[in-house]
Every structure is written in C-alpha cells, then in structure tokens.
C-alpha cells in the first residue's frame, strides 16, 4: 500500500524534483524499419498469454549499489498485466484496463491511470508492447525501432511534456515475440533495468 501512496505523492515531488538532466545522449538515431516493427508487433499480438520471471535492478545516484527485486510477470491479452514481486518484499501490482491495483501486506489499493499519467511509462510501455498494440504505444510515446525481428529494440520517448521531465526514455529489447530486457532511464540519470526470462515450467 505504501508505494501507491508514494505514487500519489509523485505529483508534488517529481514535479518539484530538479530536472538534473544528464547530458550524453549519444544515441545515433536508429534506422526505423517500419516493416520489421509491424512484423514484431503482429508476432507479439498473436501471443495471448505470457509468464516470465524478472529481475529488476535500480541504479540510483543516491545509492552506491543498485537495489534489486525479483518476481514474476504475467500477461493476458489484451490488457491484463500482473507484476508479482517476491523479493525483497512480496507485492502484487495488477493493471487491468486503466485501473492499477496494488496489494501489499494485505492492503489493496486501486488507482486510475488517467489520474496518474506519471505512472504510465512504467506500466503502459510494457503492456502495450506485450499486446503488440502499436497505436497504444504511439499515443504515449514516440516509438523508434531498431534491429531485426530476431533481435529488436524499441526506444520509447514520452510525448507528454510533464512526463518528459522525469522519464527520458524506455528501451525494450526482445527477440521474436519475447521481451528480454526493459530499461527505464530517468532524466536525472537514474535508471531501472529489468531482465526477463521464461518462467520455469510449473
């Protein structure tokens, strides 16, 4: 429950946080291969269910070492995404439609993504990609595709000015219809890196 309250706080603090933009955006604009993007999207769209394990590392300037969490990520087409963090603390986050439900230590909270657009990059990027919903992605982000169907990379830049102040980019790497790596880069140089691998068979 607490972290959701944190989300509520965000409006005040992320807006107030100094936009310590980190220089060094040395990305060379990748060539957009429209055909390959559509191929990857349609491959992803065909996949109705997914269950993967994740390990997420957050690299924060304030901390010397990254903090790590791990758990499972579940997806059901078209818009149900569930992130079950098991370590270091059990916590479940369910995104269904625009409603984000979180459960932690027996407390459940629900919030509407429409109300907290600042949360969108963290969840919508992954869900829309899993859904192969290019339109949904392009509603929130400027989308760049690089690589091939076998080894692709999406670079998502928030369209919303407010969002741009906190999140610089979300990069999702994958192969065919699998997501392998999600990296969220913030404007202050902090980033989180989530690596995914197929869940051990039940």
């Amino acid at each position: 429950m607490r972290h959701v309250l944190g989300l509520l706080l965000l409006a005040a603090f992320s807006a107030a946080a100094p936009a310590a933009a980190v220089a060094g955006a040395t990305n060379i604009a990748p060539r957009t291969v429209a055909g390959d993007l559509d191929t990857v999207m349609s491959l992803l769209a065909q996949r109705r269910h997914g269950k993967v394990e994740f390990i997420e590392q957050k690299f924060l300037t304030i901390l010397d070492h990254p903090v790590e969490s791990s758990g499972e990520l579940l997806y059901d087409a078209p818009d149900h995404l569930e992130k079950r963090t098991l370590l270091p603390r059990a916590e479940t986050l369910v995104l269904a439609g625009s409603m984000l439900t979180t459960e932690r230590a027996g407390h459940t909270r629900v919030l509407d993504l429409h109300r907290y657009p600042q949360v969108q990059p963290f969840v919508e990027s992954i869900r829309a990609t899993l859904a192969g919903d290019r339109e949904a992605l392009e509603r929130t982000f400027h989308v760049e595709f690089s690589g091939t169907v076998r080894r692709w990379s999406l670079t998502l830049t928030p369209l919303d000015r407010q969002l741009q102040r906190s999140v610089r980019q979300v990069q999702i790497d994958g192969s065919q219809d699998q997501l392998l790596r999600v990296e969220i880069r913030q404007t202050d140089g902090d980033r989180s890196l989530m690596t995914l691998r197929p869940a051990a068979s039940p």
Partner: protein, 789 residues
C-alpha cells in the same frame, strides 16, 4: 340569549382566544427530537448530538447519473467549483485534487511532529540504520523510482507512514478525474453543510442551492442535458420527511375534514348544526396544542400530524349530543334532558379515554408524551364544549333531520346476530379471542419491530439508494465508534492517542479492519512536544547518521537535506488547529471531533475486518478496559438507537397496560358491577385482539404507533360500549334507534378519518390508520351485537 348563556359563550370564546394566541406564538420543531430521549444517559446524549448536529448529519451525498461519463465528470467539476464558492458548504469533495498540494505540504512540513514513529531510539545509529534500510527496500518496489525523490529529505520514511495512517479506508474510484461509482454509472460528490443536520430549514436551503448550481453547471456544459442530479443523506432525508409529513398531514386532514363534513351535512341536513358540531373539535384541537406548547415549551411537528386523531373522537360528542337530544322539540329542554340521560355516559367514556392517554404522559419518548397531553386536553375541552357550550349556543327551534330511520335500519342488520344466546355470543367471542391469541403467540418473535428505522418516513428504496452511494464512496456506514472525552481538545486528543494504540493492536490481530483518529490529523501537544524533543541536535544527528549508513551503500553526505529538515523541525512551533485550515484534512479532523458544552469528544470510527461483517463491540471495549481506558465508550450507533427504541416500545407496552388497568378500575367504580364492566370491555378487547392478529397475519410488524392506535380503539370504542350499556338501562325503543344511529354516524366519521391515513406515504400515519379504522368498526360491531335491545 339569556345572561347565563351569554356568559358561557363569552367564557368559551375567551378560552379559545387565549389558546389561539398560545398556538400562534408556540415554538414548533420538526427535527428528530420527538424520536429521541428526553432524559438521556451520557452515551445517549452523544448519540443524540451525533444524529442531530454531528458531522455525519451534515453530509449530503450527490450522484450524477445518465448522460456520458465525460459529461458527468464535467458537470461534477463545474458543480463542485460553484459549491466551493458557496458559504453554505463547509467542504465540497468530488475527487479533484484541489487541496492535494496543500494537504501534502501540511503533512510533509510537519512530518516529524505527526509521525508516531518519531522517538529518540529511531534517531540512534541503530534506529536510523533500520529505518533507512527499510526505505531502501521500498526503493526496490515497483514504485521505487517514484519514491526516490523523498529519500534525501526523509530517509526514515515518515511521510509515507503518515499517509499510511490517514488512508486506511478505501478511496472511491476515479473516472475522468472525478469520483465515480465502481460500475462507472454515476459520478459522486460529497458536501458538508455549515449548518447542523437538525436545522431543517438550512438543509432545505442548501439542497435548493445544490439544485440551482447543478442546473447552471449542466446548462454550461456541452452535451450534459441528459445528466440527472440525485441527492441523499440525513439532511436530504429530513427535508423530504418533513415535506412528506406536512403534505400528508395537511392533505389528509383536509380530505378527512371534507368527508366528515359531508357526512355530517348528509345526516343533519342543517349547516347550523354542522357549524355547531365542529365547534368542540376545533376548540379541542386548539386547546390541545396550546396545552402541549405550555407543557413542553415546544410543539413537535409529529404531534400536529396527529391532530387528525382527535377528529375521530371529539366529533363523536356533538353527534351524540345532536342525535340523542332530538327527542324533545324544544332545544333547551332537549339539552337538559340529554344532559341527564347521556352526559354521565359521555363523561365516563371521556374519562376512560383520558385514562388511556394519561398512560402516555410519563413516557420518555417526547413524541408520545406530547401526544398524550394533546389528546387528554383536547378531549376534555371537546367534551366540556359539548356539554356546556353547545346547549348555550343552540338557536331557538333548532332541529336536525330525523335519523331514527337510520338507527332502525342498523337495528335490522343486527337482528340476526342479536338473537343468539348469551352463551353462544360468549363462545364465539372466546373462540375468536383464542384464535387471535394463538396467532399472536405464533408470531411472538416477529410481532414487534425493534428498529428505530421502522418509524422513519423514508422509503426502503431511498434508504437502499443511500446505502449504495455510501458503498460507492467507500464510506460504508460507520456503525461502531470509540469515543473519548475530556474537558479540553488537547486532553481529548491525548486520550485518542492512547485509544489508538489499543486499536492498532486490535487491527493487527484482525479484530477490526482499521480505524481513524483525529490524532492522525492533529496530534496532542504532549505527543508533538515529545516527538520534537526526541530529535537530536544537528551535530549528534550527523554523527549518528554517519554510523547508521555504514554498509548501506548510501553516502550520508547525500542526506544533508534530512539534517536541515530535522534541525528546522526541532525549532518549529507545535501544530495548532489553525494550521489545518485550507487543507482537506480540516474537514476530516472536524468530522472526528464533537464539541459539547464544556466537553470535547474525540471520535475514532472503526472499520470492520471484513466489509460485510459488523464489528463486535465487546472485545474492543474489553481491550480498552484492560489498557486502563475505562472511560472510553464504544458506541454501536445502530445497536444503540435500536436499543433506545426497543426500550421505548417496552416502556410504551407497560404504560399501556397500566392505562388499561386504570380504565378497569375507573369502570368498576363507575358501573359498580364487574359483570357490566366485563360486558363493556369484552368487545373492545376482542376488537384490539382481532386487529393485532390481522396485522400479524398480514406480516406487519407492530411499532409504537400501532400501540397508540390500539389505545385509540379502546378510547373510541369505550364510548360505544358505554352507550349500549346505558341504553340497556333505558329500555326505550325510540332511544335505541337513536343511539344506534348516533353511534353509526360517529363510527363512520372515525373510520373515514383513520381510513384515509392508510393512503398516506408516512409509515407512522399508515400504522395508525390500519389499526384504528378496522378496530373502531369492530369495536362498534362487537359492542352492538353483544348488547340486547
């Protein structure tokens, strides 16, 4: 007119004039007080204050339905912004984050005074280490990237802890930026009026203002024509109930007056007789209200609503007078003959009724006590006017249409049953009574309705709608409250903090789901001071922090903002109530503080562990007791108000039985024969039993008002029975048919008056109507059949 008649008329006019003046100047109340105890215990007083003017009484729930979700959201925003500018409303909330910024600033700025985790231990190297480690774990959570900006200033996570304490209840859903029901069909707003809930006039004005603001907001919003406004809440109910009772009382009084007037005109065929016949009724009503105004200081609207009950009996007196005094052509002689032959009987009937209603006088239920006084004084006045004033007012040569043929027809109808032998009648009566008693015994568990809501003039549909809105808002009705009180606000807050500790452990063990406390919004001075003094000086904190961060991968240099924030908190003044101004926390705080003369009460509403399961107050009370908080009260609002009502019902039953006993004694003294008393009372008791059985059979649960109705059956019916008893002494054929005619007319007017009540929308009036109308008819029938010509 001779001087004596003139004097009588003048005296009567004088009395009526004085009564009219008192009535005109009387104070009329329409709040709940008629349903609330006149001699409350401290707990009941709290309940009464809560119901009358407590924060819950000032809530108006607004729902916007129909139209598109987008249109509803826009109207919600436009309506809220209009209402926020209206001083009639102390708070307006629709989910828009209008005060969110100020709320956060207040909490963030005062976090070291507000967090109950701030202790000296927490700022030792070990305490800091544990707290910061916890916060770093939080950073690993999905929301970590959003929380990290708090870390430099608040590495121990006090801000999140405060928010956690405040937001224990589920917040409503948000759609398109405003509160919405879970199914998304309606947008929701909650407003609190500045005026108390018992100020029905102010509530009515507030409701009108909301309607006007809605109309303007909907008109100004594109595509919002279809959006509908609905309102609910205690004030809305009070206004609707008042309108309903007024409407019913006025409409029904007019309708029954017209019908009774038509009936009397048809019988008397004389406008003068009609005018004279209504004189006792009008005098009785005026004097009755005046007596209540003098006796209670204020007249309750409910009492006025029962004015109709008086028509039932007092109109009978003049009917008896006109019809039965018709035997002699000279009016003066007719009057004196009637006085000799019938006045003692009417007087006895009146005294019987007075005995019945007197039993209501000692009731702790002011509504009943007022009704008792009103009926007694009204009946006595009506009888006296009939006895002394009517004969004086009769014009020379006054006569009414001959009603003897009517009496003859009634006698013909009764001939067959009257031919039965005494033992046969007794047997039939006994069988009927036994059947009725058996039926009542069978229904004994569900015979009485013990919920105060049974008297509520609000329909079940409206109550369900209210419950739906509250469910949508996540503000499920608070049923159980812990209340601590003290002579000062600060002392009450300190007690609330102690109670909160007990409740927190109950929440941990899932006895309760959670609770709210005013000390979460404004801690007591002592708690704040203790927290402030537990903050170490800057140098000490810096050293502690250096040690604490070893091995955490967190450079203490990055926590410089924390050091300066703590230093600022050490020198900051304690928080006062005024600091809450301009935040939504103010409304939350006010809702949990109830001020009584020289007492401050802090309310800690409890939330059930499982939403559908009510909280058991006993373990809560026991835990508070163990913690030395014996003076803390655990108040189950529904249980308490139902208990209150059940006590009234029990009391009213006992008082009615006492009244019945008094009637028995009175009749024994007056009639001097147990057999005659039995013959008078048996038809009445049978009528009451039959009505009660009929109600039980049609699954109507009896309320206090049914009991009052039964009392009225005895009051009205005793006249019938006594007349038959007297008639048996007279042995006159012509007199018999006149008696029957007068009783039939009197009965018809009573049945009309009360029968109309059955068509009312107000449950209390329906209860009265469905009891008295059939009861009065049965009483006449049984009394007539059992009497022998």
């Amino acid at each position: 007119m001779n001087p004596r008649r003139l004097a009588v008329a003048a005296l009567w006019l004088g009395c009526v004039g004085v009564a009219a003046m008192i009535v005109a100047r009387a104070h009329y109340v329409t709040d709940l007080s008629g349903f609330l105890p006149s001699r409350p215990t401290p707990t009941q007083q709290l309940l009464v204050d809560q119901l009358r003017d407590g924060p819950a009484s000032r809530l108006i729930l607004i729902a916007l339905e129909e139209g598109t979700a987008e249109a509803r959201a826009q109207v919600s925003a436009a309506l809220a912004s209009r209402l926020r500018r209206d001083r009639q409303f102390s708070s307006v909330d629709n989910g828009e984050p209008v005060t969110a910024q100020r709320d956060r600033e207040y909490l963030y700025q005062h976090r070291y005074l507000m967090s109950d985790r701030v202790t000296a231990e927490r700022f030792t190297p070990a305490g800091l280490h544990a707290a910061i480690e916890d916060t770093i774990d939080d950073l690993a959570s999905p929301a970590g990237l959003l929380l990290k900006s708090l870390l430099p200033n608040d590495p121990t996570g006090e801000m999140l802890h405060i928010l956690d304490q405040l937001q224990r209840t589920a917040a409503p859903n948000i759609r398109d930026g405003v509160w919405s029901s879970a199914d998304g069909v309606r947008a929701l707003l909650v407003v609190q009026t500045a005026a108390g809930g018992s100020d029905t006039d102010a509530q009515a004005r507030a409701i009108e203002s909301i309607r006007a603001a809605f109309a303007a907001a909907a008109a100004a919003t594109h595509g919002a024509q279809a959006v509908q406004l609905k309102m609910s809440g205690p004030g809305v109910f009070a206004v609707a109930a008042r309108a309903k009772i007024e409407h019913a009382a006025v409409r029904l009084s007019i309708a029954s007056s017209i019908l009774v007037v038509m009936l009397l005109l048809a019988v008397y065929r004389s406008p003068a007789a009609l005018a004279l016949g209504l004189a006792p009724v009008a005098s009785g009503a005026l004097i009755g209200i005046a007596a209540v105004a003098l006796g209670f200081g204020a007249v309750h609207g409910i009492t006025l609503g029962f004015g109709i009950t008086l028509i039932g009996e007092s109109v009978d007196y003049s009917v008896y007078f006109f019809v039965q005094s018709r035997r002699l052509p000279q009016s003066a002689a007719a009057g004196s003959n009637w006085q000799r032959a019938w006045w003692p009987t009417i007087r006895l009937g009146m005294l019987t009724s007075v005995c019945g209603f007197a039993s209501l006088l000692p009731s702790g239920f002011p509504g009943l006590a007022q009704l008792g006084l009103y009926s007694i004084s009204g009946l006595v006045a009506a009888a006296l006017v009939t006895r002394y004033v009517l004969p004086a007012l009769l014009p020379a040569g006054f006569t009414i249409h001959d009603v003897a043929p009517l009496g003859t027809r009634v006698a013909r109808l009764l001939r067959r049953p009257r031919q039965l032998h005494g033992w046969q009648l007794a047997a039939i009566g006994a069988v009927l009574a036994a059947l009725a008693l058996a039926l009542l015994h069978q229904h004994r568990e569900s015979l009485w309705n013990r919920e105060l809501a049974a008297l509520s003039p609000i329909s079940a549909a409206d109550q369900n709608y209210d419950a739906t809105l509250r469910g949508d808002l996540g503000a499920a009705d608070v049923r159980v409250l812990v209340i601590v009180s003290a002579p000062s606000l600060d002392a009450a807050l300190a007690l609330a903090e102690r109670a909160a500790q007990v409740l927190a452990s109950l929440a941990d063990s899932h006895v309760i789901g959670g609770f709210d406390s005013p000390s979460n919004y404004l801690p007591s001075k002592a708690a704040q001071a203790a927290r402030r003094s537990s903050l170490p000086v800057a140098a000490q904190l810096q050293e502690n922090l250096r040690q604490a961060t070893v091995g955490l991968g967190l450079n203490s240099e990055r926590l410089r903002p924390f050091l300066s924030d703590v230093e600022a908190a050490r020198g900051a003044p304690l928080i006062e109530v005024q600091d809450l101004q301009g935040t939504s926390l103010r409304a939350g705080f006010d809702a949990l503080i109830l001020r009584q003369p020289s007492r401050w009460n802090a309310l800690l509403p409890l939330h059930p562990a499982v939403a559908s399961q009510p909280i058991d107050a006993r373990p809560v009370a026991a835990a508070l007791q163990r913690a030395g908080l014996g003076e803390a009260r655990v108040l189950d609002l529904k249980l308490e108000s139902d208990d209150l009502y059940a006590a009234y019902t029990t009391e009213a039953i006992h008082l009615s039985l006492a009244g019945g006993l008094a009637i028995l004694v009175l009749l024994l003294i007056a009639l001097r024969s147990p057999l005659r008393v039995m013959r008078v009372l048996a038809p009445l008791l049978l009528a009451v039993l039959m009505v009660a059985a009929g109600l039980a059979l049609s699954r109507v649960q009896l309320t206090i008002l049914h009991l009052v109705g039964m009392l009225l059956i005895v009051a009205v019916g005793s006249n019938y029975a006594l007349f038959f008893d007297r008639q048996a002494d007279l042995h006159e054929a012509e007199s018999e048919s006149l008696t029957l005619a007068s009783l039939a007319i009197a009965n018809a007017s009573t049945v009309i008056g009360f029968g109309l009540l059955c068509f009312s929308q107000v449950p209390v009036l329906v209860a009265l109507g469905t009891t008295v109308a059939p009861g009065a008819f049965l009483a006449l029938l049984f009394a007539a059949v059992s009497s022998r010509a």
